[in-house]
């Protein structure tokens, strides 16, 4: 049953049988029409040159999130598309508020053809998926790569790139960048003080003691977004107990947060809280403030993803040389080696199901995933893409080059979790709040895991949230 029916019924019931009903029908949820069919969409004929069936003169509309990466890279991709389809008119726009800008257009059934759904104003992916608002990108994966002959697009991608954007086996969200999550430190600071990054937890604690004795806080974190600290903690647990720890959490299995591995990890991390190895005042800092304190040498370690280097570009002193490292191993019993690091695809791009030019949207993503497109992106914004082997011959900034090395060392031991994509609220609100209590010393490891588990249970019990299963 759709909106029109509701209106008709309520109007019939005499509730809205006033002139206001006319106004109502013209607004908010009334747009679109659910059975529009294929009329008004652009389709070309498929051929070897045109595997996705792009209509060459069909206009294409691209909306970019204007955040850390800017919009210049997208303009370059659009130019590449235009080169291939000179008759196509490309409409480009960039915004920081993806959800508020595009929500009416999704409801109206006239969304753009490609959306870079990212940033704080990201549309909850679960919301889009559960409302069937996204086009299946499977066809794109099967299509041949634009400039790597003999390979399909899927063959050119790094491991894990498809998993992250898949919901119940359907590839719906193309995450373009490859992000590594780890612990960051300044090579310069460590060289000056003659410190060595510790590979085991006991050594890490010993090092923290040494750092604190030198008058520097060993750790700081984004107290207002404490979920940043959930990343190394969950990573420690996964390295200790194996990837099944993550699968259980992603699948909302009962007591997944209270597994032995999670308990061991929480107990270990509690040490840095108990021994006051965290910069005073960290709970009151936001991510920028804490990262800046770290860049100023007030703290030695910080947990972040590989966007850190470009985010901190303006305040990082010359020669700081930030390096990413995996979380220390708990002990010799760890299922994954020390080198294993969390790598995952980020920066989501979607093609709305109701876009006029779905084929063009898919083709635009194929341009982005070409070797040329990916290399251009890495050069412009100093970030890796999900396309394998595109860093050859590109000069990388220091931090990013350590990311590449960490990824190589991690190899097939790399791991990831996706509960944050499936259930945005669980990470952003519930686990976030629990981390805030835990890392400021107000809750014990057991209470912390309890609070996370309660959050996960509340999502599991909420019948209005669609659930997804991650393949083991």
């Amino acid at each position: 049953m759709n909106r029109r029916d509701i209106l008709r019924r309520t109007a019939a019931a005499g509730l809205l049988a006033t002139p206001a009903a006319g106004l109502l029908a013209g607004c908010a949820t009334s747009g679109g029409g659910d059975d529009k069919g294929d009329a008004g969409t652009y389709k070309g004929t498929k051929s070897e040159q045109n595997p996705l069936g792009v209509k060459e003169d069909a206009p294409l509309e691209v909306v970019i999130f204007n955040g850390g990466f800017g919009e210049e890279y997208a303009k370059a991709h659009e130019a590449m598309y235009k080169e291939k389809y000179p008759k196509a008119e490309i409409k480009h726009s960039a915004t920081q508020e993806i959800n508020k800008t595009l929500q009416p257009r999704f409801v109206d059934g006239t969304p753009p053809d490609v959306v870079n759904n990212s940033g704080a104003g990201q549309i909850d992916p679960n919301g889009l998926v559960s409302q069937n608002a996204l086009a299946d990108l499977g066809e794109l994966l099967a299509a041949p790569s634009l400039d790597q002959p003999g390979k399909s697009v899927k063959d050119t991608l790094l491991p894990g790139a498809v998993d992250v954007g898949s919901y119940d086996g359907k590839f719906l969200v193309m995450n373009y960048t490859y992000t590594v999550y780890g612990i960051w430190y300044s090579t310069k600071l460590f060289a000056e003080r003659n410190w060595q990054y510790a590979k085991t937890w006991d050594e890490h604690i010993a090092l923290c003691k040494q750092i604190k004795a030198a008058g520097i806080a060993p750790w700081t974190y984004a107290g207002q977004h404490p979920r940043y600290m959930s990343w190394p903690l969950i990573s420690t647990a996964i390295k200790f107990g194996g990837p099944s720890v993550a699968t259980a959490i992603d699948n909302l299995e009962p007591n997944a947060w209270k597994s032995d591995a999670m308990k061991a990890a929480a107990d270990a991390w509690y040490q840095i809280v108990k021994d006051k190895y965290i910069l005073d005042g960290s709970p009151g800092l936001d991510h920028k403030q804490s990262q800046t304190a770290w860049c100023q040498g007030k703290a030695a370690f910080i947990s972040c993803g590989s966007w850190l280097e470009s985010e901190q570009k303006d305040v990082t002193p010359a020669g700081f040389n930030m390096t990413v490292a995996p979380t220390p191993s708990l002990g010799s019993g760890d299922k994954l080696p020390f080198e294993a690091i969390r790598g995952t695809a980020g920066e989501p791009f979607i093609v709305p199901a109701k876009a006029k030019n779905v084929a063009g949207g898919l083709e635009y993503l194929r341009v982005m995933l070409s070797k040329k497109g990916a290399q251009d992106f890495t050069k412009k914004v100093a970030s890796l893409t999900v396309v394998a082997g595109t860093t050859e011959g590109v000069e990388l900034p220091f931090g990013l080059s350590t990311v590449v090395k960490a990824l190589e060392a991690s190899g097939s031991n790399g791991f990831n979790w996706v509960y944050n994509n499936y259930y945005r609220k669980l990470e952003r609100n519930l686990v976030d709040a629990a981390c805030g209590e835990f890392f400021s010393g107000r809750s014990t490891p057991a209470e912390f895991l309890d609070q996370c588990q309660k959050g996960a249970d509340s999502i599991a019990q909420d019948s209005s949230i669609k659930k997804y299963k991650r393949a083991a």
């Binding site: 909106r3 949820t29 409801v107 209005s464």
Partner: protein, 302 residues
Amino acid sequence: MRHGRYPLIVSFLLPPLVLYGVFVLSPYLQAFQISTTDWLGYSAQADPVGMANFRTLLHDGYVWNALKNNAILLALVPVLTIALGLFFATMLTMGGRKGRAGVSGVRGTSIYRLVYFFPQVLSVVIIALLWKEIYHPNSGLLNGTLRALGLPAPTWLGDPRFAFWCVLAVMVWSNVGFYVVLFGAAMQAIPRDIYEAVMLDGASRAVMLRKITIPLLWDTVQVAWIYLAIAALDGFILVQLMTNGGPNFSSDVIGMRMYDTAFGSETKFGYASAIGVVMFFLTLSVAVLALRAARRDRIEYS
């Protein structure tokens, strides 16, 4: 004259009424309708679920927690703001010692009046960011001062014991200036001879404030009360920018819940509208109650 009147009235009234209807009334009505659906916001699909959203709301601990905070704001923000506003306004209009027989403000009144009004000129967003830096646990003005005095320096916005009160303080700070000017202007309208008469009778300043000024300002205070009560039920902008409701939901307010449900961590527009409807009725009842409670006879100067 009569002939031309109706077309004139209609042509002046109609456009604003139509605009009001389209942009204010119709969204309100729609919010009521949407609150009875499970609309998820990104398709035209919205199934009616009756009162289910409101039933969920009754058992939603996060909403109750936010409402509790709004109740505290409602109890404290108007009282503190009006008390401070009255105090400063009195000092500015009749606090001066010079010439005990006359009624004048403290020295530098015009400067104070200007300074008090500053926060009103700044946008709320600027105020929030400004105070976020003042509360900065390490390099903030507040902790810098506390450390210089040898006092302990808490993490303010990072501590659930303080975060909410920090926001409350900013809310009062940013509102006081406006009411100083408002009360000040109203005090100017009180005839001087009344004060001179009670002064001759030997009334102290406190008695003057309690027995003369406040009764004569009652209408203005009442208006202030309603405005501040409505502002206290909101508080969204400051909370969102300063703490985002945290840590651990300790500074959450109902507007924040609504925003987060629709645009933040979820896209439950139906449920968010239900929260909005509850907020609407709360605000309405608070305004009505405030009007009722403060009703008194109007005093007219002759």
